[in-house]
Symmetry: C2
Subunit: 340 residues, 2 copies
Amino acid sequence: MRGAILYAPGDVRVEDRPDPTILEPADAIIRLSATCICGSDLWPYRGIEPIEGATPMGHEYCGIVEEVGSAVTTIRPGQFVVGSFWASDDTCELCQAGYQSACEHRVLMGTIGTQAEYARIPLADGTLVATPEPPSSDMVPHYLAASDVLGTGWFAAVAAEVGPGKTVAVVGDGAVGLMGVLAAQQLGAERIIAMSRHADRQKLALDFGATDLVTERGDEGVERIKDLTRGLGAHSVIEAVGTQESMLQAIRSCRPGGHVGFVGVTHDAAIGGMDLFMSLVHLHGGPAPVRRFLPEHLQLIENGDIQPGRVFDLTLPLDEAAEGYRALDERRAIKTLLTV
Amino acid sequence: MRGAILYAPGDVRVEDRPDPTILEPADAIIRLSATCICGSDLWPYRGIEPIEGATPMGHEYCGIVEEVGSAVTTIRPGQFVVGSFWASDDTCELCQAGYQSACEHRVLMGTIGTQAEYARIPLADGTLVATPEPPSSDMVPHYLAASDVLGTGWFAAVAAEVGPGKTVAVVGDGAVGLMGVLAAQQLGAERIIAMSRHADRQKLALDFGATDLVTERGDEGVERIKDLTRGLGAHSVIEAVGTQESMLQAIRSCRPGGHVGFVGVTHDAAIGGMDLFMSLVHLHGGPAPVRRFLPEHLQLIENGDIQPGRVFDLTLPLDEAAEGYRALDERRAIKTLLTV
């Protein structure tokens, strides 16, 4: 099969890789309907996260089940399925508490690489959620978005305790931040302030439910949020970037007693103890338990209630993944879908 | 009146200070029944928190109202009252949300100095809670504890979402940590693991409701908590120290999806973004909104349900405050009460 491999920073190639096979009885093999490139793929692509030799890329996926292992009981060949970037058993104590991304038996899909024609999915019964029928091709992008960005933005909104009557600020206008806007709208927020200075992303934010736009960043951005909230700060802040500046911007934009949900991978950030102490905010985040939300999200997509696939503004064949990475890296695209 | 003044690190003196007077119509003047020395008073005493010239000390207090300003409507002379280290109006949006320590009109009592015979209390109606009758002198220490340590430990427990069925770990065996143990017991925790290596504090922790003791610290302490929780970590962790080591110990002792409540003043700590991201814990803390809990706490004390004043293991006259600071600094005392 064809699959994307990162050889070195900036050097992604799509080449022939061995077809995956069932390795464990709980595995399934899926034929991908589509895959995509994540903002977090840019960390190794930019050399910020080191790689050890040639690394298969990708952790987002949806597709048709081809084969299942002997221990798989609920997932069947022919089903259209969506899973998350952490394979999880969905039965352990942490999964049952809603933290499938910390499953006691979790497997990181990024180590398998789903920017490919086929993928092995560990713990298939726990990981995968099937639709009643395979969707039409125009619906595939929405389901693919449910594999990561939708659930990640949604988790940030839930972590930020977004709800009716609340003012929400969203730091970050990438695909995850935009999904945070969509989630905030679905969760009933009264006011959704999207922080963005890019016209295309501003437009999508407004389409997804943003009520206000703030173009300033850092301390100026914080001041604008304060101006819009009688000096108090937002009740809920979604952080979807993962830098030192964005984390501080999020914490400072939040009122005492408010909630910051953060899902940006915070490689280079450190939060000063006194910043956090004096802010009196609640802070929660990390690798999103996307699996928690999949059944609900697949239903919302099937109903046509949400169109998360609209974040894909560039579609390329898998073989042109390298251009997809470049476009994302240079911010020419919000998110790149790769057809398989 | 007599009052404690910090002149330089290690140099506390009790000397004559002007009697306080009503400065604002919302003020009250109280005659202190007792006051005490806080772990956070050690920051400037040790020179870690700089002071600008001679500084009145103390922010914990209870006593009899002597006089009230013209705008005070509910608090009356002769009442026995308890207040928190933040004076607060108890009416603004943040107070109403339960964050009186972030009141829009808050005044830090530490700038007034309550290690003294009398104190001016700003925003008296919002700040002070009165008992039905002045208590007997043997009850005064319990009410004094409600002014800070009880409410601070309790806030940490609430921030850590302590409740029935949960395992709670308490990092820090100072007065606030011990109050965290008491709060966890009152809030119905199933298991309360106190981390302490001091026999006197261990005994008090057990009296307050601890079910397990862990003497190890740092990574070893974390491993012991994991051993006691099937490798997962505690549901709730109370952090009551405020150092880099204690914050990391708290975060690492907590399971994914669990809650860390921190109230140690985190002067010299910085939380690595990836530590926090990968932990998937909830983090909440800061200056405790003690006022939120005062009505409930005064009732629990009056009923004899809790005896928080047991944390005072050294009682000295106000004039011997310097010895009280030394005893606390050298860990010869858990908490020092000063009689007035």
